[in-house]
């Protein structure tokens, strides 16, 4: 380890915070341009979808449990269940499936 650890932490924190704060504080007027408005409207859906898939398939100990957890989340989300219900049910399914895999030694 070279350098001062606290300076490293300060650099990390400052860069990360500025990236977050500058657009929020500088863009304080409503954007009128229809293209940019539409673009910003679609940003979260594109971002979240890209971050979820296919990474979700590798987020647990086995792909089988991940696929079943994924399916559970899709089904419950489609039925309009709340964030917490969807998240907990997906975790529960993964937990049970992984216990079964260990139990039956698939």
């Amino acid at each position: 380890m070279k350098g001062n650890i606290y300076i490293y932490i300060l650099v990390m924190a400052a860069v990360t915070y500025l990236i977050r704060a500058l657009p929020l504080t500088l863009l304080n007027k409503e954007i009128k341009n229809r293209y940019i408005k539409s673009f910003l409207y679609y940003v979260p859906y594109a971002t979240l979808a890209a971050m979820t898939f296919p990474v979700i398939l590798f987020s647990t100990a086995s792909t089988i449990s991940a696929i079943l957890g994924f399916a559970t989340a899709l089904l419950l989300a489609y039925k309009g269940k709340s964030l917490i219900t969807v998240a907990i049910c997906a975790c529960a399914v993964v937990f049970v499936v992984e216990r079964l895999i260990v139990l039956f030694n698939f």
Binding site: I5, I7, V11, P23, V43, S59
Partner: protein, 238 residues
């Protein structure tokens, strides 16, 4: 809704994030301990950064003694997606909002907190944001603490199961909107297909996760805005 109700509603929506964060930051804590950071330093990183990829890369760089400039650049590259999110979020705030709120909201711009707040109905009330942060951020901080202090007690089976929480929550955010709007549905499918391509195709699979997200977002949201621009009614329902 008044401020307290907004805060409560945010707090509730932040709970799944808290669970997911706990699992991820627990691993971060374990790793920081291996690199040789103290408990205080590790928790300080989590409190001041609140970002997964940036922190994991950060402790690696501290371990091999990167220059401060290198560190700054790496954080910029890994976290530049927050810039896009903040631009999007800025349009969801009332333009006459007391400016100091913007500085506080900025602290909580993470993939997950952004995902929940941006998809909340109507204009964004800062107290809703604070509510989400109040439950989500402690998950990140305590996860880090428990990871470095008790890294070897937590059963792996529980951590594995919690690993899916964040993604399940993302699905819960995007699916209801995709169900009612055809253009959002196409954006979601397009982004997932692109993301799969980035994961499997040679050469482009070497692109880091942060850049992958930026490229796909700009590409897909850019095409969607061109092909199906939103009308004024859509903007109001945001």
């Amino acid at each position: 809704m008044n401020q307290i109700e907004q805060w409560k509603s945010g707090f509730k929506d932040g709970i799944p994030i808290c669970l997911g964060y706990f699992a991820v930051s627990f691993t971060f804590g374990i790793k920081a301990g291996i690199v040789g950071l103290t408990v205080f330093q590790t928790v300080l990183i989590s409190v001041t950064n609140v970002t997964s990829a940036g922190q994991f890369a950060g402790i690696d760089m501290i371990a091999y003694g990167a220059s401060y400039m290198e560190m700054a650049l790496a954080q910029l590259v890994l976290n530049i997606r927050y810039c896009l999110m903040s631009c999007s979020l800025s349009q969801k705030l009332e333009s006459n909002l007391f400016p100091v709120h913007r500085f506080f909201i900025a602290y909580g711009v993470t993939d997950e907190i952004f995902g929940v707040t941006i998809c909340h109905d109507g204009k964004l009330n800062p107290y809703y944001s604070y509510g989400v942060m109040s439950s989500a951020v402690p998950g990140w901080i305590f996860g880090t603490f428990f990871g470095i202090v008790f890294g070897n007690i937590m059963p792996v089976s529980v951590l594995n199961a919690l690993g899916i929480a964040i993604y399940a929550m993302f699905i819960a955010i995007i699916i209801p909107k995709a169900k009612e709007s055809k253009s959002v549905r196409l954006v979601v499918l397009g982004a997932m297909v692109c993301s799969m391509a980035f994961y499997t195709l040679p050469i482009i699979k070497q692109v880091s996760a942060g850049f992958r997200t930026i490229i796909i977002t700009v590409l897909i949201a850019g095409i969607a805005a061109w092909l199906c621009p939103i009308n004024e009614e859509n903007t109001n329902e945001r």
